[in-house]
Symmetry: C2
Subunit: 174 residues, 2 copies
């Protein structure tokens, strides 16, 4: 029995602001570089990785696609750093985040990236592990290198929460 | 009159090692994360941005395509940091680098990325500005934020150097 079906809404900077930054070029300011052959959209995220001598780590994640609707059981957060994801094959993916709460995770939100948008989770933001759709997908990731443990996990209370695309986001998935 | 036509060879970690790292997953080690739904190819580049209180800057560059053959006139380098580029639309692009030399740039090399490969220029590596091919292309860039000037430019001696794809890399370009 499902307590809640969460429909993912389109990712936007405004809606995502409580959780971090949307990494995108559409509608953003840029400056011309390289003799006007290149637009530079500068400094799109707060890369917050330096706590306790941490350093920026650049990695690639290759994620298998998930079937929707997907049950959200556990969220994670990184107490020492931000974590940025950018899709490398222009494929939409789901972003599930939650407000903080005293003993558990708070209200959960789901967003769908256009495939031309990345996200940067602010330090300490509760979020679900990467949710690729349709096909195995690579993401460039910028997070923190350092010896300390930098991942906490929490179960999503006792509710059954399923996440799916909005009804108008395309054909139903198997 | 052209003194030298430089043919770009396939980008590989081994050939590119004097200039920095190739960011790629093919043939690399990974570890499973997220309950074996995701492969993590960890720490692919030396993100060297902390000199004089610098910080990691995450930006998107949107580069217009260049016509080949392209004359190489000026190279640049960043004395305070590395600079990483990853293609966001899986399109091949050219990477032109040079060895250091006392008064000018040294021997020039040209590589072509498969479109699934990024590069990280080691601090101080002479390189050409981004060379997109075929269509306007976006790249995720990780370099350094900080108040100091971090770009030097040098002309490529008096020689006329043209860069092009290798003869076996596809049809000739207009």
């Amino acid at each position: 029995m499902t307590d809640l079906i969460l429909r993912a809404s389109a990712l936007s900077a405004e809606a995502f602001a409580p959780f971090g930054e949307v990494l995108e070029t559409e509608g953003r300011e840029f400056r011309w570089i390289n003799a006007r052959t290149c637009k530079r959209y500068d400094d799109l995220a707060d890369i917050d990785v330096e706590e306790n001598g941490g350093r920026a780590l650049l990695s690639v994640f290759e994620a298998s696609p998930r079937q929707l609707p997907l049950r959200i059981q556990v969220l994670e957060r990184h107490p020492l750093s931000s974590q940025a994801f950018f899709p490398l094959e222009c494929r939409p993916f789901l972003v599930v985040v939650a407000e903080d709460a005293p003993r558990n995770v708070g209200r959960i939100r789901a967003f769908v990236s256009s495939g031309r948008q990345g996200v940067n989770f602010r330090r300490g933001t509760w979020h679900h592990a990467l949710i690729a759709l349709d096909a195995t997908s690579r993401f460039l990731v910028v997070d923190r290198g350092g010896p300390e443990e930098n991942c906490e996990e929490r179960p999503v209370a006792d509710r059954v929460i399923m996440v799916d695309l909005a009804r108008d986001a395309g054909a139903p998935r198997a």
